[in-house]
Symmetry: C3
Subunit: 251 residues, 3 copies
């Protein structure tokens, strides 16, 4: 990747997925900045060590929207990883005219009225039923290791998991109002891109695979890019993921 000119400079807001914080983007952000782009990596409420566990999904969205407002950001390439797809989807309606494009990176685009939990395969849904709201929810290590860290050695997978913390159960179980989001998609008033890593099996392949299921929901003009790597490309392939984010986010 070569340096970018001022006219090609993009403003990225990169939103981490479940159990993680903005720090997961460290290497991707460094790559993007090296190319001249502006990068923000907020940590969403309810994520991180010692976060409050009594929050609703609305609080996560409010946390993201509040960050964008506070920093007075506009023309934003707003990228969400994994469950952050459900956070970024609510931004355009709350910040009209401020979002250049939404980039779903291995991310959920839940159907209107569904909870995130409803988008998992039925055999996974039991995870959420068993979760204790007081202590939040964190997937078991074996699930994270086998499905999302499939391309990592054990030490790297353990380090990723060591950096994780539970998040509020309601983030997975709250029914989501995405009617306006899909209306904006239908009117082509929100631009979208989808990045799928060909080894991303965080959701098992087949009927409940993330790709192409979620990309198909993002309208006939969704810009789709497949890349090497798995669910945590920001850990294993930061340079290639940065390049894909540029390809996904540029005009």
């Amino acid at each position: 990747m070569s340096a970018t000119s001022p006219t090609n400079r993009l403003t990225f807001v990169l939103v981490h997925g479940a159990f993680q914080t903005g720090s997961v983007w460290e290497h991707v952000a460094a790559e993007l900045r090296r190319c001249g782009h502006v990068v923000h990596t907020p940590t969403i409420a309810g994520h991180g060590p010692n976060a409050a566990m009594d929050l609703t999904h609305d609080a996560a969205v409010a946390s993201l929207v509040g960050y964008l407002r506070e920093h007075n950001l506009s023309d934003v390439v707003l990228a969400g990883h994994s469950i952050a797809g459900s956070y970024i989807a609510k931004a355009p309606e709350q910040l009209p005219g401020q979002i250049k494009r939404l980039v779903f990176q291995g991310a959920f685009a839940p159907a209107d009225g569904n909870a995130l939990a409803d988008e998992f395969p039925p055999e996974d849904a039991a995870f959420f039923d068993m979760a204790d709201p007081a202590h939040g929810f964190l997937l078991p290590f074996e699930v994270v290791r086998e499905r999302a860290c499939n391309d990592m050695d054990l030490a790297t997978a353990e380090a990723v998991y060591a950096g994780m913390a539970p998040i509020p159960v309601a983030y997975f179980t709250d029914k989501l109002d995405l009617a306006l989001f899909y209306e904006l998609i239908g009117k082509a008033e929100v631009k979208t891109s989808y990045i799928n890593a060909i080894n991303d099996f965080a959701l098992p392949p087949g009927e409940f695979a993330a790709f192409p299921r979620f990309a198909q929901r993002l309208g006939p003009l969704c810009r789709i890019l497949q890349v090497q790597g798995a669910h945590y490309g920001m850990v294993t392939r930061p340079r290639e993921l940065a390049e894909a984010l540029i390809q996904a986010g540029r005009d």
Copy 2:
């Protein structure tokens, strides 16, 4: 790619897709010739600036077949890109014994009796209903940019689009008689290959994706190759596409 011996020399006829001309193959043809192969890149009637817009799909096929006859070509690896799949499919029945193999590169293999328009997702079909036969049909820039130029920067996508011109509406709406083509496929009297670029989302992913839908129609002995790149690999990855064409076309 290394130089080929006379016995491995292939005769390629590369047929461009909609809105384009034979010039789109410039870099692929140069690669193939450098390896010792013979390459033809005809422009099909109804394509190119100032083409007649009152032509039927038969005229496109006749244009291709006429080119092959005029140049007295035999043992031809006949490759079609995108909608040219519907042109090349008619060649073996009109030139029996002259076609070594058909190569579908991100190409349509319409069902017998369907028009090309019938092979698009229902939400795309409206494009063709709105087209004015007098002025021909050209997809809007946003569709070409987001779905077919997804891996390009804006300047490259604009250059690709600047090289495009409308083609006759009837090319998309004429019902196609492909009964004999599929009969020849069924009897294994026509050899086929399919090249799918993993980032080719000219047709959106899912039920109406080009791949594997069209490859599945080409019989149980279709040789399938997946490559990097998107719909216009001849622009973005000419060397890899040339290599794939050799792999697809050789014995």
Copy 3:
């Protein structure tokens, strides 16, 4: 790939697919040994030149299990290619506690009660009906060449085929008792990985494609890895396949 420490040393048993013998793994085994791993490449009964053709599928399994017992192997990464998926699936129940993980490499995971033949597309099933039990079964060259050697030049494909020999018809037509295998999968008492090469079209794409159909049967904790190459990666990409086997087999 760098050398491995004693604690990371894996014991691989690599099981060839139909018509082949353990020698097909030569280059992959050399790569794995170079990295410090222990590698066994048994030839399964009924395979190889002059093998008995009156064997049942049970004999193939017994041959594999016998090899593991004779060599007193434990903590085994047991990898099966193609139809060997049906052999390795029976190992954990016969050698409880000895198998570290099953790795399906472009391999069949037949449904309980099905024969291997039942897992082929209906149009392929005729192959097995026509087979003569006295002489065993070998797929015709064109099928092997177009579907499984799609990424090879003709000379390499011919060399692969020259190394093939018929195997007992019953290997394909015996109904398989995999109830206990899937019970162990369901209880997460057998660990599994699936390696899919993106150009593996030994089974045609679509409903009867090997991937993701067979991987989906291996439970929600199956570790899936997609790699470059086609059905015979051990011939065309031994180094990358060795690396994938390590990624699939390690803790």
